[in-house]
């Protein structure tokens, strides 16, 4: 999909004074949370990990919300409009199993080892080389992505309210800076939870009103069949989730399913959800082991269900009866993949729905929800960036052994620096109209090998420190090579298939390289690896917190994880 977020005059919404009031109420609460959270920050752990004090429902919803930013809201409604039902794979095959795996298998190592970041886990398991590779690339990726979120936010403000882009960028950055620099991770997390509810309050009315307007589910199916006759991406492909050839760009059904299951489902999603510190940080802020393990499991429930309120509105928006300009764009782009006319693209899906379905009042709530999503996306980038920079780069390699108060000040300062850099990267982003796609791929290149190294390092005690960094570097390079080969047309792939394939290759190369290097280098003594490697960690140490209130049956991680997997499976069958 292409991310053109051009300001088109016909997308201006008729916001009334009451809508501005509702948006203002939201901003007042966001800043209020920042001010109130400041009172609770007295040391660096408070600032970077909320003092490890958060209850599981809060960290769980924040875990889900941290991902509900620009790519999700724009990208997945766009996917729904363009490809239809196969978009659900990003959730039921992709996110949900990975989140369950994180909660059940990996969280005991993260939380139990008391590391403060994902790179710090690399330091404990593989030593300094792997740590530095991971820390620096993560910090760089986060400020780049913060810039993307900031730019997306500014374009929405520009589209909806008519403020100039540069002014929107600066004001939005100032607000995110204000609450993250004041309240640290607590402020970011609390705002993410509030954002979650506002987003739901935006998506549900759009879904229900949209369905009502097209005559319910059967009306939707009927109208899609009527409007999509081009065999290149026909109604049948859009109305059944498997084999999903339209989304992978792989014509063979068998290979398409393999691409979805292994590329998207296993490597890409497991890599993203289990090693991305912007996500894992939310779980590390939980108050105990049980709450940390439940964080991704609790997040998996809304994640499983919200896709319906994202994909269905997307499918509805591309019908001629709802947004004719989007429907004509879709017909044109299916007939000619290089079509570049008209003044809307799939990325305007959510804005078109808001414009065409919601009256003043709900319009204000929906605009607040969109702005909230992008602010929270940027806040999660900034709050994970400042943690990794302060703990993993500054404290470990630059200025060591200072009192905690010093690192708290560094954290606040680097938050400001991060926001200023994000303003810069936002202007870089404004020069590209498909940078989101590009960055998503970069992100996948980085996460797929990281996941391979993690999983191997957790279950294979012999894996050596040298294998740790060599695997990461070679995995990333091989993914990059695949990307270039696709770009120059050597490998014929289109749609979102290239990133699936690149992820699989990076994963395999990382594993093979790690095994070979391990054969020729010296492993660490077993005594140093307790709590970091599965076979060297006593079982009761992994589960020590399930006592007292946490022993309640509905708080058992196994049960929570099993039920949500079942739910995803049932939905997968229903929407086959």
């Amino acid at each position: 999909m292409h991310v053109h977020v051009m300001a088109a005059a016909n997308l201006r919404l008729n916001a009334a004074p009451i809508d501005y009031v509702l948006i203002a109420v939201y901003f007042a609460l966001v800043l209020g949370i920042g001010l109130m959270a400041r009172r609770s920050v007295s040391n660096s752990l408070d600032f970077f990990l909320s003092g490890r004090s958060m209850p599981a429902w809060v960290t769980g919803l924040a875990f889900m919300s941290a991902n509900l930013g620009a790519t999700e809201i724009f990208g997945m409604t766009a996917n729904g409009a363009e490809y239809g039902l196969p978009t659900v794979h990003y959730y039921w095959i992709g996110a949900v199993p990975a989140m369950v795996f994180l909660g059940l298998v990996m969280m005991p190592f993260y939380y139990g080892s008391r590391v403060r970041s994902v790179p710090e886990f690399m330091l404990r398991r593989f030593g300094k080389a792997a740590h530095l590779v991971n820390g620096i690339s993560f910090a760089v990726a986060q400020v780049l992505i913060a810039g993307i979120n900031l730019y997306a936010l500014a374009t929405v403000v520009n589209l909806l309210l008519g403020w100039p882009i540069w002014l929107s960028i600066v004001i939005a950055a100032a607000i995110v800076l204000a609450y993250t620099a004041l309240g640290g991770l607590s402020a970011a997390i609390y705002n993410e939870v509030m954002q979650f509810f506002v987003i739901v309050a935006m998506l549900l009315p759009i879904t229900f009103v949209g369905l009502h307007k097209v005559g319910g589910w059967s009306g939707l199916v009927d109208k899609i069949q009527h409007a999509n006759t081009n065999p290149a991406n026909n109604a049948a492909a859009q109305l059944s989730s498997w084999p999903g050839s339209n989304i992978t760009g792989i014509h063979s059904s068998v290979l398409s399913v393999l691409g979805i299951v292994f590329g998207l489902g296993f490597v890409l999603s497991f890599g993203y959800w289990t090693t991305n510190f912007a996500e894992v940080q939310r779980a590390l802020s939980a108050k105990n082991m049980s709450a940390a393990r439940r964080t991704p499991l609790i997040a998996a429930y809304p994640k499983t269900l919200i896709v319906l309120a994202i994909v269905i509105p997307g499918m509805i928006a591309a019908l001629p009866q709802i947004a004719p300009e989007l429907a004509s764009y879709k017909a044109n782009i299916i007939a000619n993949p290089n079509y570049n006319g008209g003044n809307v693209t799939f990325n305007n899906t959510i804005e078109l729905l808001i414009r065409d379905l919601l009256p003043n009042g709900m319009l204000g709530v929906a605009i607040a929800g969109l702005i909230a999503a992008f602010m929270a996306g940027m806040a999660s980038n900034v709050s994970s960036f400042n943690t990794v920079f302060t703990y993993d780069i500054w404290q470990t390699y630059v200025v060591k052994n200072r009192p905690d108060r010093y690192y708290l000040s560094v954290g606040r300062l680097i938050t400001i620096v991060g926001c200023v850099i994000a303003i810069g990267t936002a202007f870089i982003a404004s020069d590209y109209n498909n940078i989101m796609n590009y960055l998503q791929s970069l992100f996948a290149f980085f996460n797929a090998p990281l996941f391979a190294t993690f999983i191997l390092g957790m279950f294979w005690k012999r894996m050596t420190p040298a294998a740790g960094w060599v695997g990461l570097v070679l995995g990333t390079l091989s993914a990059f090579t695949i990307d270039r080969l696709v770009a120059y047309g050597v490998i014929p792939l289109s749609g979102q298939g290239p990133s699936f394939v690149a992820a699989i290759v990076a994963f395999v190369v990382d594993i093979v390289a790690s095994v070979i290097v391990t054969m020729f280098t010296q492993p660490r003594p077993a005594a140093e690896l307790t709590g970091l490697v599965w076979s060297l960690t006593p079982r009761d140490e992994l589960r020590k917190a399930e006592v007292g209130a946490d022993a309640a049956w509905y708080r058992k991680p196994m049960l929570l994880g099993g039920v949500v997997l079942l739910l995803a499976l049932v939905l997968n069958i229903v929407f086959w």
Binding site: V21, S42, W57, F197, A201, K287, P359, D550
Partner: protein
């Protein structure tokens, strides 16, 4: 629980932090009232036509008020418990 938490002098930090549930109740209380009033008093025929006859503000406003009341009740009935100064075991204070 852990070495880190037990060396912290302020174990009651979780409780000193404000209760997020009241903030959510406040937000949806305000949104619910405004949107419901818009739905009852200020819905035009054009608004209804947009949504094929549904009064969107009214039917969104009422659930928002319900959500606000539920969060307020939850916060009222199960207030955040202040953990003991010496954490016994880490499992005591789910809200």
């Amino acid at each position: 629980m852990s070495e880190l938490a037990s060396t912290k002098p302020k174990a009651s930090r979780a409780a000193s932090l404000f209760d997020l549930r009241w903030i959510i109740a406040l937000l949806f209380g305000v949104y619910g009232v405004v949107v419901t009033v818009m739905g009852i008093g200020f819905t035009t025929q054009a608004d209804l036509d947009k949504a094929a006859g549904i009064n969107v503000n009214l039917w969104t406003g009422i659930p928002m008020l319900v959500v606000a009341i539920l969060f307020a009740l939850w916060a009222q009935l199960r207030p955040v418990q202040i953990p003991a100064e010496q954490p016994l075991e880490d499992a005591s204070s789910e809200s």
